[in-house]
Each structure stands twice: as structure tokens, then as C-alpha cells.
Amino acid sequence: MTDHVARLYALAVAVLVFLVAWAAVADRPWASASTATPDPRVQALIVKQQRVRTEALAVQRVLAARRQQAALASTTPPPAPSVRVVTLPPLTITRTS
């Protein structure tokens, strides 16, 4: 084996070692280790966010229903009272208040 061939082998081994090391670093084994036990405060915030979203949706539904009722009420006048003159004896008398 000549020196030239030996250098080529050495270079190939060096490139291989570099690529293996790159792949190992890119895999970020430390990150998966840290997310395996999530922070309870973050979890609580996520739960709270979901609850607030649900409540906001419920409030929007109630508001929409109330707006609809108010719109109906504003367009529908109250029924006119029924009144007529009769000859019955009155049960009570209304005077100037």
C-alpha cells in the first residue's frame, strides 16, 4: 500500500466519522429526554387555554341568542290590551293617580 492510498483511506474514514457525528447531533437526543417529563405549569396553561376557548365559544353563542331575541322584541310590539265598554258592575274603580 502506497502512502497515497493510505491517505485516501484516512480521508474516507474521517468523512465517515464526521457524517456519523453530524447525524448523532442532528437527532438531538437531549431534547427528547427533556420533553419526556413536561413542565406542569405549561400543561396547566394549555388546559386553561382550552377551557377559555370553550367558554368564549359558549359566551358567543349566548350573546348571539340574546341579540336575536332583542331584535325580535324590538320589531314585535306588545299585544294591545283587550278593552270594551260593558254594563257589568265594576270590581274596582280607577281614579286620577
Binding site: 290590551p81 270590581l91 274596582t92 280607577t94 281614579r95 293617580s97
Partner: protein, 274 residues
């Protein structure tokens, strides 16, 4: 038929409930009576400890739901009647001599003087603020409101009628109601409606040797001069009937709902009776 009478808001209140007498009717009548007493404690300008008196004294308070509701209704009525109905006539009423309950008014007093009306009233949430120099009188509209609330309570139990010295609501059946006319009385069969009458034939007194009364013309700040002796209005609620009766008495055009007007000599149907 159950019937109960008591005094509240300066008049005799009559409750009629058309169900079998018993514990349920007794409880409903008691609730309605308590509602009158509760609202009088809040809304009377003659009671120094009322919420209304606190507002008139301080100019701004965080009020309860009822004072906010009645003040709001009064301001809406002022808007709707172009100022003929005005809750800021308190000082004009006092200057006209109506400075204590009607039963305690003295025989005569100093002449009536005009007082400005039409003061600004701001309501924001539960805060009510009066323009400096103005105070509220909610007498008539508060009585109408109390009649409507008491009728709501009784109406949950059965057909009912509430009559607070002329402000009247009849629910859930036809009730024969006597209405004073110039030469006697007619009977109206009223169902699911209210009657109120405004006039100068009852609450009147003398000041400076002249007749004075409680219906203030807000434009003048003085007891109003009207062509009518009495105006009776039939409307869906006692609150509305009270406002409309006062507005027609002070010169609002007579339109539906039903209106009976009495001049010195006669009572005529001015609109609406079908």
C-alpha cells in the same frame, strides 16, 4: 276570589286574585304587598333613607337594579315624549308646594316659583349621576313600575288585578273596571292591559292664594295649564299608561292606544277604544 287592600306609595293599593283561597293565594298576595313596600323604601322622595333620596342628596351613587331600571324607563319616556314627561321636575314640585306627602300638605303657603327642569342624567352600568342643581322625582312612574312588578308576581299564580290608586293592571281574564267620567262612571272590561289616569281633580292645594297641582310642565317649571281635567290611557303596562297619560295631559297628540279625556263638562273618547 281573593282580595287584599293596604296603603303604599301614598295611596290605597288593591290586589285581586282569581283563584281558590288558600295558602298559595295568601303567599302570592303577601309577596305582592312586600314588593310594594320594598319599592317604596327604594324609590320614595319623601323617605330620607330611600335610595332615591341618597341620589338626590349626593348627585351620584351606585344604585340598585330597581332605581337604575325606573330611572332608565323615565329617561326613555322623556325622549319618547319630547320632554313632556320628565323625571327632573323634583325642584319644581317642591317649589309648587309639594314638598311632603300629600296627606301632610298644609293649607296654603308662599306663591309658586318656576324651577328649571330637563337636567342631564347619566347612567353608566349601575352608576347614576345627576347634573348639579337637578333632582329626580319618580313618583308616578315608580308607582306604575310597582304595579307592573306586583302583577308579574300575582300573574304567576292566576288571573289578577292590581290597582294602586288609579294605576291599574289586569291580567289573564276580563276584569270589569270602573272609570270616572265627568258625569259619573263607565265600566270597561279590561284584559291583559293597564290603565292610568292623570289629572288635576285630586292632588291639588293652594299656594299664594292660587290653586296648585302636581302635574308640572317641564318647559315652564310650573304646574301645567291644560285643556283637560283628566286623561285616562289604556296601554300594555302601567308604566307606559302612566307616561302616556301625563304626556297627553301636557299636550302630546292623542293617538292610539285608547285614551279617554275629561274636560270640565264631559268625558270623550279621544282614540282607540275598539
Amino acid at each position: 276570589m281573593e282580595r287584599r287592600s293596604f296603603r303604599a306609595m301614598g295611596t290605597v293599593v288593591e290586589l285581586l286574585l282569581d283563584i281558590e283561597p288558600g295558602a298559595e293565594s295568601d303567599a302570592a298576595l303577601a309577596r305582592a304587598e312586600q314588593e310594594f313596600e320594598r319599592l317604596e323604601r327604594l324609590l320614595s322622595r319623601f323617605r330620607p333613607d330611600s335610595e332615591l333620596s341618597a341620589l338626590n342628596r349626593l348627585g351620584m351613587i351606585d344604585a340598585g337594579a330597581d332605581l337604575v331600571a325606573v330611572t332608565t324607563l323615565a329617561l326613555q319616556a322623556r325622549e319618547r315624549t319630547g320632554g313632556l314627561f320628565d323625571p327632573t321636575v323634583h325642584d319644581a314640585l317642591v317649589a309648587a308646594g309639594y314638598d311632603r306627602t300629600f296627606e301632610n300638605l298644609s293649607g296654603d303657603g308662599p306663591p309658586v316659583s318656576a324651577q328649571a327642569c330637563g337636567g342631564a342624567v347619566r347612567i353608566e352600568g349601575r352608576t347614576i349621576e345627576l347634573e348639579p342643581g337637578f333632582r329626580l322625582d319618580l313618583g308616578g312612574i315608580a308607582k306604575g313600575y310597582a304595579v307592573d312588578r306586583a302583577a308579574d308576581l300575582l300573574g304567576d299564580v292566576g288571573p289578577c288585578l292590581v290597582n294602586a290608586g288609579g294605576d291599574l293592571v289586569a291580567l289573564d281574564r276580563s276584569w270589569p273596571v270602573g272609570v270616572e267620567t265627568a258625569d259619573g262612571q263607565i265600566t270597561l272590561a279590561l284584559e291583559d292591559g293597564a290603565i292610568a289616569t292623570s289629572g288635576t281633580d285630586r292632588r291639588r292645594w293652594r299656594r299664594g292664594g292660587a290653586e296648585a297641582h302636581h302635574l308640572i310642565d317641564p318647559a315652564l317649571g310650573l304646574p301645567a295649564a291644560s285643556d283637560y281635567l283628566r286623561v285616562t290611557v289604556i296601554a300594555p303596562t302601567a308604566t307606559e299608561a302612566e307616561v302616556l297619560a301625563k304626556a297627553v295631559f301636557l299636550g302630546a297628540p292623542v293617538q292610539a292606544p285608547t285614551v279617554l279625556v275629561t274636560t270640565g263638562g264631559q268625558t270623550v273618547l279621544a282614540g282607540g277604544l275598539g
